[in-house]
């Protein structure tokens, strides 16, 4: 059976009406994953998922209500899952079986979700295209031979191709928003520290955000209301109360002030993407939003400093892979991990620390100030997610700098720690284009409000 037209709500209604069981849905999804040629999954959790689905069916029959009861979801293979191989898409960890699960995963399971499999990604979440996986690239579901965006490539594809109903990804510089944009699904990068990072393999700890992919904005709000919250095991999680995200979905956007940063609509942007996003802004204006052109002057420098801070933290986090406690030797790192480890080691090495790392942390302050100033004038900011359409597999693999620059519209959001939501904005030449909505820290509710308005256009 094909569930492409089913939302999570529809699925749960179907369970209750006995149109189908969770077991049947899980088995159908697993068959679809096996038939799929896009290489979205590294591990299928067949036996575990079917046995959990049977338990879920029992609970459904008993009338137990849980927000994701019996709903199959996938996880980027960077989330630790107790007893299930977790590779980070790297040969270094191709035999690693975690002894515990990430709290984010536990929360989803407590809400009834069924983990159907672990998705492919750029190894260690390093990349913008999904091509850096040691298990082969994932392909774009809309055009053969094109990248799905990365690093959470398989997660985006798993939702876009209806192989499951939601997927968890990670976003350090755009790794959820970019693939969401390239695969025509909704992708959320929450405020830094809103969701626990514990048990999620670290890339750059001051930037890593735990978010997700869904088919629509409403489900993005639903998933965040489950995953968000304080976790004593992650000292950077925030104690602020978790908002009632779903309550924002019905609010209109009259008088909402929307900023359009000129730096995100300048020369480097594909004119066809520009036209599409500007059209959406005009449509929002018709609904009563007030569009204002703003400036985020340190945008370009933000990208430069991202490529100092991020590899510096990568080199430190990947230092632990020494083959002693788990995993294989460091000779198994792929090229991109080696590049980032070396770049990070260099900028942190004696004599260079002040010129690079300290300087970058100062510029980070300026980037954050740009957003603080902007949010005094506007409620949200809207930008494109990517300056270009998805590119051909192989096009940028030998040019790391070109690959890095595909993140220019996403990295500063991580630098500032603010939330960002990518929602589908339409197509150019058969390839999806995403629109990015940004707000101050903790404004996820507002992002869902605007995201819902864009979705309804």
């Amino acid at each position: 059976m094909n569930y492409s037209a089913y939302s999570i709500k529809d699925l749960r209604k179907g369970f209750k009406k006995k149109q189908f069981s969770s077991e049947q849905v899980v088995k159908d999804c697993i068959n679809d994953i096996k038939d799929d040629k896009l290489n979205a999954f590294i591990t299928i959790c067949e036996d575990e998922a079917i046995s959990k689905a049977k338990e879920a069916d029992k609970k459904i029959n008993e009338g137990i209500e849980l927000p994701l009861l019996g709903v199959p979801i996938s996880l980027k293979d960077i989330y630790l899952t107790k007893g299930i191989k977790t590779t980070a898409a790297s040969k270094v960890l191709n035999n690693y079986i975690p002894q515990y699960s990430a709290p984010a995963v536990e929360k989803l399971e407590e809400s009834g979700a069924i983990i159907i499999g672990k998705t492919n990604c750029d190894a260690w979440a390093h990349g913008s295209s999904g091509e850096n996986s040691d298990f082969g690239p994932t392909e774009n579901p809309y055009l053969e031979g094109y990248v799905p965006g990365g690093s959470s490539s398989g997660s985006a594809v798993s939702v876009a191709k209806n192989l499951c109903f939601a997927s968890m990804g990670t976003d350090t510089g755009g790794s959820i928003r970019l693939p969401a944009s390239f695969c025509n699904v909704v992708g959320l990068k929450p405020t830094y520290g809103r969701v626990s990072r514990y048990g999620v393999i670290s890339m750059a700890s001051s930037l890593d955000s735990i978010g997700h992919f869904t088919k629509n904005v409403e489900e993005s709000a639903l998933i965040l209301s489950i995953t968000a919250g304080n976790d004593p095991k992650d000292g950077t999680t925030l104690s602020e109360k978790v908002d009632d995200y779903e309550s924002y979905l019905k609010k209109d956007i009259k008088e909402l002030r929307v900023g359009m940063p000129k730096e995100y609509f300048s020369d480097g942007l594909d004119i066809r993407i520009k036209n599409l996003i500007e059209q959406k802004l005009r449509d929002l204006e018709k609904l009563g939003a007030k569009i204002e052109i703003i400036s985020l002057p340190n945008t370009e420098h933000g990208t430069e400093c991202y490529y100092i801070i991020q590899p510096a933290e990568v080199s430190s986090n990947l230092g632990r892979y020494d083959e002693i406690r788990y995993g294989n030797g460091r000779e198994n790192f792929g090229d991109e991990a080696k590049r980032r480890i070396m770049l990070g080691t260099y900028v942190l090495s004696s004599g260079y620390y002040d010129a690079y790392y300290k300087k970058a942390m100062q510029v980070r302050t300026l980037v954050k100030k740009d957003f603080d100033e902007a949010f005094k004038k506007v409620d949200v900011i809207i930008t494109p997610v990517s300056p270009t359409l998805p590119w051909k597999i192989g096009e940028k693999v030998n040019d790391p700098m070109a690959m890095y620059l595909s993140d220019v519209y996403t990295v500063n959001i991580n630098m500032a720690g603010i939330p960002g939501l990518s929602v589908p904005a339409g197509f150019v030449d058969g390839l999806p284009v995403g629109l990015q909505i940004l707000g101050p820290h903790f404004s996820e509710g507002k992002l869902f409000q605007v995201g819902q308005a864009v979705e309804n256009l």
């Binding site: 002894q99 420098h301 490529y307 100092i308 020494d322 590049r339 070396m342 700098m401 720690g417």
Partner: protein, 91 residues
């Protein structure tokens, strides 16, 4: 921008062949040239940001809680001895 790949690889505990070294030298120099544009930013009297949500002194209660058993902790190692990790001689 010149980068001493051999030295950096040693610091990073990576084995880089001569051929790889050449490739990485070129690529890393390009990236460093790019990030060096930061030098044009005036950061005089600008504070650093290392924690973006301004958290300070996050502590937890000093209470013990269950942790991994010895057996679990060793479950992924290829090299153990008498319930301990076996490592190469350091000195």
């Amino acid at each position: 921008m010149k980068i001493n790949i051999k030295h950096i690889a040693k610091l990073a505990n990576l084995h880089i062949s001569d051929e790889e070294g050449k490739k990485f030298e070129k690529q890393l120099s390009e990236i460093l040239n790019y990030v060096n544009q930061l030098n044009s930013v005036d950061t005089k009297n600008v504070e650093i940001t290392s924690q973006i949500t301004d958290l300070e002194n996050v502590t937890r209660e000093d209470k013990t809680s269950p942790s991994l058993s010895q057996e679990e902790a060793l479950s992924n190692t290829k090299s153990k001895h008498n319930g301990l990790f076996k490592v190469k001689k350091v000195l």
